[in-house]
Symmetry: C2
Subunit: 440 residues, 2 copies
């Protein structure tokens, strides 16, 4: 993409309203814009990141056997009366009356609707297990939205719902999501640690939060340091292997790990002192097993092998891709700006023309752009007529993994300069070598 044809409204000044670094950097880097309190437009650069996160989340859901569908944002209040949550859910639920004065709401989550879809068509244990997910906008009317995407009102959520004939099956479904989440966060370039969690308004017996460590995280967490290097199953993991998944989950839950809310200082004290990690963390995923909490009142039942009707055992599993965009920045930035992990970077390469209008420099840049693009590399080509210093600062701010700097001085020696955004390392090489390196 040529910057001259793109829409990247970066800001020179840090915006005053932004209290945390991800919020500040997303606004400054032209990734998003606030349209109302806690409601943001994703500008083109931000949308590219969001879509990459979404796609990794989707691939790992699919790998685990979950099936994607898409539920609407607006729901009928009737449905929530069936579960009893319409009155129980507080003011965070955005309640709406349509033109016929029917009570509707903007879905903050979808347990009721997915249970309705399930009960309309599934009758037998033979159709189980089933895990249905969607990636859809949600709304929670936070009393004081803040911190940008970290606590917005309209946000993107992947929510999955599992259905099993009994608790043992549901436990395996839970373990599948547990492992899928470990894999998802790892692919996003994050170190995540599952921590036993409160079940809150979703309810249920068993729940884990996935916490990402970041110096600027929202809350204090405590864990054993062995989590930091613990192996995450690779892409060959067999999601049908009940015992194998249980072993992985056992390993990932055997050591001490707790958020502030669930912290037990005496148990933490039993962790060897040199293995105690007390750090800041950000919640990026939350999984629940809640048994028959929704299937009982909503009459979602299946026939078992011996012909009895039983309510299905359910779990729900959430990841917020929009929140993750912010969390990744919290975990990966420096003084100069964002440092994108390559899998979620909006473009892989920033190509900087250091003397726009100089025929030789323009020509070399155009050729590099064409060759990299032909190799399938996403390049943001800064072909704007502005001074080199502004281009350097802008490239550091938006944080693409690689910068290629092309100017008359280097070209005179047949060289361009490659900079690795993360390490800051620079190297001179021929344009052909640069294409070779970055096109891998």
């Amino acid at each position: 993409m040529r910057l001259s044809r793109y829409f990247l409204p970066t800001l020179r000044e840090p915006p005053r309203e932004a209290e945390i670094v991800s919020h500040r950097l997303m606004l400054r880097a032209g990734m998003m814009r606030q349209e109302a309190a806690g409601i943001y437009a994703f500008l083109p650069l931000g949308l590219r990141v969001l879509r990459k996160i979404e796609q990794i989340v989707r691939e790992e859901q699919n790998r685990s056997g979950a099936i994607e569908l898409l539920m609407p944002t607006i729901q009928s209040a009737e449905l929530w009366r069936e579960s009893g949550r319409y009155d129980a859910y507080g003011k965070e639920m955005l309640r709406i009356q349509d033109r016929h004065e029917r009570e509707m709401l903007y879905g903050p989550t979808n347990e009721e609707m997915i249970t309705e879809i399930f009960r309309a068509s599934v009758r037998s244990y033979k159709d189980l297990p089933l895990n249905l997910y969607h990636i859809q906008w949600k709304f929670r009317d936070e009393v004081r939205p803040r911190f940008g995407l970290m606590r917005g009102r309209e946000f993107l959520m992947k929510d999955a719902y599992s259905f099993d004939v009994d608790e043992a099956g549901a436990r395996h479904s839970y373990n599948k999501m547990f492992v899928a989440y470990l894999r998802t966060f790892k692919r996003l370039g994050l170190t995540s640690i599952p921590m036993r969690a409160d079940t809150g308004p979703i309810g249920g017996d068993l729940s884990h939060e996935f916490i990402v460590l970041a110096d600027t995280g929202e809350s204090q967490v405590f864990c054993h340091k062995d989590y930091l290097g613990m192996a995450v199953p690779d892409e060959k993991v067999n999601f049908d292997d009940i015992a194998g998944l249980q072993k992985t989950v056992d390993q990932w839950t055997s050591l001490y790990a707790a958020t502030e809310d669930m912290h037990e200082p005496d148990k933490y004290a039993a962790v060897p002192a040199d293995a105690q990690v007390s750090a800041r963390g950000i919640e990026v995923g939350h999984i629940f097993y809640f048994g028959t909490k929704y299937s009982l009142p909503m009459k979602a039942v299946v026939a078992t092998a011996d012909g009895k009707e039983v309510p299905v055992h359910m779990g729900s599993y959430g990841i917020g891709p929009s929140r993750l965009a912010a969390a990744i920045i919290e975990a990966s930035h420096d003084e100069a700006g964002i440092v994108w992990p390559e899998p979620v970077a909006p473009f892989k390469v920033a190509l900087l023309n250091l003397k726009q209008g100089d025929a030789a420099t323009d020509g070399a840049c155009d050729q590099l752009y064409a060759e990299l693009t032909a190799k399938g590399v996403d390049v943001l080509y800064n072909d704007i007529d502005e001074r080199a210093g502004a281009k350097f600062a802008n490239a550091d701010l938006i944080g693409l993994p690689w910068q290629v700097m092309v100017g008359p001085r280097g070209l005179a020696e047949g060289k361009v300069e490659i900079k690795n955004r993360k390490t800051g390392e620079k190297e001179q090489m021929s344009p052909a070598a640069a294409v070779d390196l970055l096109g891998r």
Copy 2:
């Protein structure tokens, strides 16, 4: 995808509430489910179609130079007061009060918001032309939602907005979208005809609807038959070629073409009798040029080359991917079910195991499934234990372009049967030949 692990709740009986064929078939084929009046969940099969349509729309928007972003669904009423449309827009706008009693709304369209985004950062003619689009859920509170996705309340819309320094530039931007739309509908397997249209609540001077011909279409349309075979620019079309695009648009607007609303019987009478086409049509796209209607009241101005400030000239351009899913079915179905054009088919191949449980048949199917999948072909493998007749009927209903039927009788001769869903033609061939044919 193995059907035994998928979620495809087809219906035996045509649902009573469905008045038109696309609505009936989408419900019967397990593509969607109504969650409230005019509000649908896309079940897995329907979502695959929606995503394929969306992707083709996206690719053609990108090819024309439009830039994707994503605006939120919930908007502030303030914004719409600036343009004067908050009061002007009727009850179709879903109005919402949040917990702090601020007036919000679920966006039915985004002219105001995109103008706000534009004016916040663009100052100069040098940053133009600019065309920004998003693909996002919209809500229009229809008094009587009906016809399934054809007139739903919550629907997916691609809406693009162009910004130019003057009318001549805006005309070129309009022509780009005109050509992008021709290409989009062609790629979707549709015959579309642009027809001069009323500008309605969007306002403006110039507008075309794109109408797809379908026997079961919603309204009567009248046109010259030469439109039916008119060439659509191929993918090498140069969107920067002002004169070239104008020539294409002139060609596509030179002959008579009108919807019922805009029909002029005396002009139509001037079309040679053997060239008169009177048919049913479905609106699938609508483009507008409306000059400074929003930029003037909302003060979206840019500096011209000679330093003056002028309000930008704008256009907006809509395609509804969810409506298109229904329109494609209206244009392509038969007595037995849907007939998907290959580019939007949810899977390319239905693999039917005609004797589930027979070791040889299961083995041959498993191998075909593995080989086709390895070639990147999307296969829906019916591995359910049900009779062959039900599998045939189901495959015809969901309408995948190709069916591969595998049974013991054919296998005894080393053959499987391939059926083309559209033509009904069947052919016996070896499994290897089938993989070769379908893997192309």
